[in-house]
Amino acid sequence: MRDTILSTRNLTKKYGNTAALSNVSLEVKQGDIYGLVGKNGAGKTTLLRLISGQAFSTEGEITLFDQSSPSGINLGRKRIGSIIETPSFYANLTAEENLEYYRLQRGIPGKECIQDALQEVGLADTGKKKYKSFSLGMKQRLGLALALMNKPELLLLDEPINGLDPFGIVEIRNLLIRLNQEKNITILISSHILSELSSLVTNYGFIDKSKLVKQLSAEELSMECGRYIELRVEPLEAMTALLETKLHTTNYRVNPDYSIHLFDYLNDPYKVSQIAVTNGIRLNSITLKEIKLEDYFIQLVGGESND
């Protein structure tokens, strides 16, 4: 059983009468890459700011590394690396100087952690270039380097691939997967683009209008999305029995509208129809369909434009 590294219970943040976050309860276990998905302004950053101590909750509780007292949570934050909103550094210092400033502040022994972190994110050769001359992508990488410098057990990353070019996105994605798999670093990552996270995360939390509307694993999401065969047949029970006995699959779902979504035999729908017909099933329709990740997301959160 994996340990829970971070959990929130009924976490609420209000500004006046407006709720920026309402009763959010989530659980991130060790080794997870938890993707927090929501439109801009949905409450993702607010949640991360509450966890990182930048803002204070109105109600609810945060438990971090089994600690839920303010001092315990603060101690736990030393085991976290984070980029909340945009990465921010001193404009007139170089990448190395900025990291040295935070290394001294955090009391991290030995300067080699700076080069290691810069190497890890591909910024080892920026030399005397000041932060103010960095591109957005370089700034993101430096933010990630700072987050990694203290060898964290948990990474909080708020839209970390914003501003990166396609190569940069792939590099950072691979880096995060490597950190997760090789160093067992748990990651809580937010994005407003579901497809950005799809090849990365193990668990999803969908947040909309300040509420956590759905949590599911990557496997569950792939069941909900992707390609499938939609069958409309009579009788329904006979067809499901055929799927299991003749086609040897349980990878299907019966929907409230009496349709069957079959996630196997996607390249051979003819075989499915043949089995149905030869066994006396009335086949009203058989259609190959696809739900894209973004469509799923839009369906889930209502499909209004980003604010």
Binding site: S52, I84, S88
Partner: protein
Amino acid sequence: MTNYIKSELYRLIRTKGSYMFIGICSILLISVNVLLASIGHSEPTFPYDRTDFSISFISSGWNVLFILCTLVASIVFGNEYANHTMKNSISYGIIRGKIYMGKFIVALLYALLAFMIIMGLFVGSAYLLLENTGMDALMMLLKSILLALPMLISALAASHCFLFLLEGTSGAITSIMVAIVVFPIVSSYLGLRYDIFQRLSKILPFNLIGAINYDQQYQLVLPWEGSAAYGNYWMYGLLWTVIFLTIGYVLFSKKEIK
């Protein structure tokens, strides 16, 4: 807190503004002595190319230094809110009290260092360039420094407090000026009519530092006689320092960081 102070000193050493402040202040003050000396050279009857005149000129100008404390605090604060850099410290679990007091200690250290360098260069250039009229004025300067110091510390604390509480530097500096300069002046005028303002204005740092005067024999003329003056200056200076630091800390500990 030591780690935080170390990091702030590291950054301050790499900040151009910290050198520019000391450099510009030193050049301005040294140029006063250069000007006096050059006029003295070209005009033999010129009566002011003397160390006592130059040094006493500074002893009566503490109000300017009082205002400059805002600049010192602002250099050390390092535009944390505009750069959004404070969130990096907070999200690592560095306690707000350490950030607040750590920065104040660094501001105090930098202010003392800057003060010693600027004053040392000014006094040194005076004795180097001008007619040496003895040590009376210098002794008076040293005594007035002892009186001005707690007031300058309180000005630094007030500036520190507002810089931590307000997001924009220009807004913070305006508020500081209102609190530590305009309010004491207004209080003095209101004191002509209302007793409470009269009493309050007498213990406000800007008014106290402005009350450091001297006579023709270079003896200090103060609101209190003898050693009570030193005691009262330090007592009120530290009192205002504690008040500003406490208000700043309490409000900063509740402030959300972006």
